[in-house]
Symmetry: C2
Subunit: 151 residues, 2 copies
């Protein structure tokens, strides 16, 4: 997965989509988008705030939440939780390809993974349930290589 080119494309796509929908994308919103592109996978609002503050930006937390909410409503980011009671966000790729997350129960590290077999199983299963399935989240819990070694 080439994060660099992917997120670069995502940034452009996002700015273009916002503009097309009539939203202004300067100021705080643009900084949040840049921050998301830079941080990439599985970031919290606080992490974005910390990054922007480090860079000397005066963007407020409220604007970050507002931007994330807007991006989520436009399907430009994916919002999810891994069981900490904190919302996490990451750039959503327009093609629909996506990954899931695995969380280290010891250090809290979150990593992404993709698995075609899993996607297929969920697809097959979706036909069998009474709900109309629109999306799915999978979270694996375990211990990361670093923490396994440190036991």
């Amino acid at each position: 997965m080439d994060i660099t080119t992917a997120t670069c494309t995502w940034t452009e796509h996002t700015l273009r989509t916002l503009a097309r929908a009539g939203y202004r994308s300067s100021g705080a919103r643009a900084e949040v988008i840049d921050g998301l592109a830079e941080l990439g996978c599985s970031v919290t609002a606080r992490e974005i705030a910390d990054l922007l503050r480090e860079k000397g930006s005066g963007v407020g937390l409220a604007s970050i939440y507002r931007a994330l909410d807007l991006l989520d409503r436009l399907s430009l980011v994916q919002r999810f939780e891994v069981g900490e009671g904190v919302a996490r966000y990451e750039p959503a790729h327009p093609g629909g390809e996506h990954h899931h997350h695995i969380v280290c129960g010891t250090c809290g590290k979150v990593e992404g993974f993709e698995d075609e077999g899993l996607e297929q199983a969920i697809h097959r299963l979706s036909d069998r349930v009474s709900f109309a399935v629109a999306a799915h989240d999978v979270t694996l819990h375990g211990e990361c290589p670093g923490c396994r070694g440190a036991d």
Copy 2:
């Protein structure tokens, strides 16, 4: 799945496990366990509180959270979230058999489902990742039959 006998067994198992671990299980804790057994799948702390209050119980919210936390640490309940920022709990069956959840994006209804193909896919996948996988959560998002019809 026969909820009645399953939760009855679960209640006994839970009380026995607590006693064996040296915890007292009278008062608030027992009421929370009863409430969980009665409500069954995917309940919030508030739902337990409401049920107990209805029954005239004076159990406080803090005791409910403390009980749920203890049961979770002893693996007697499963704790999870479906993306609302609220923790949900349900009796955990000792055998390890478990189900996952599907959430209606319109009315918020949560239902359980089981799928062997999904479990197998996750099992196969677990061998391929660098983490030591200990558990997994799957959440499907969609629209329930009732809300589909009401569109």
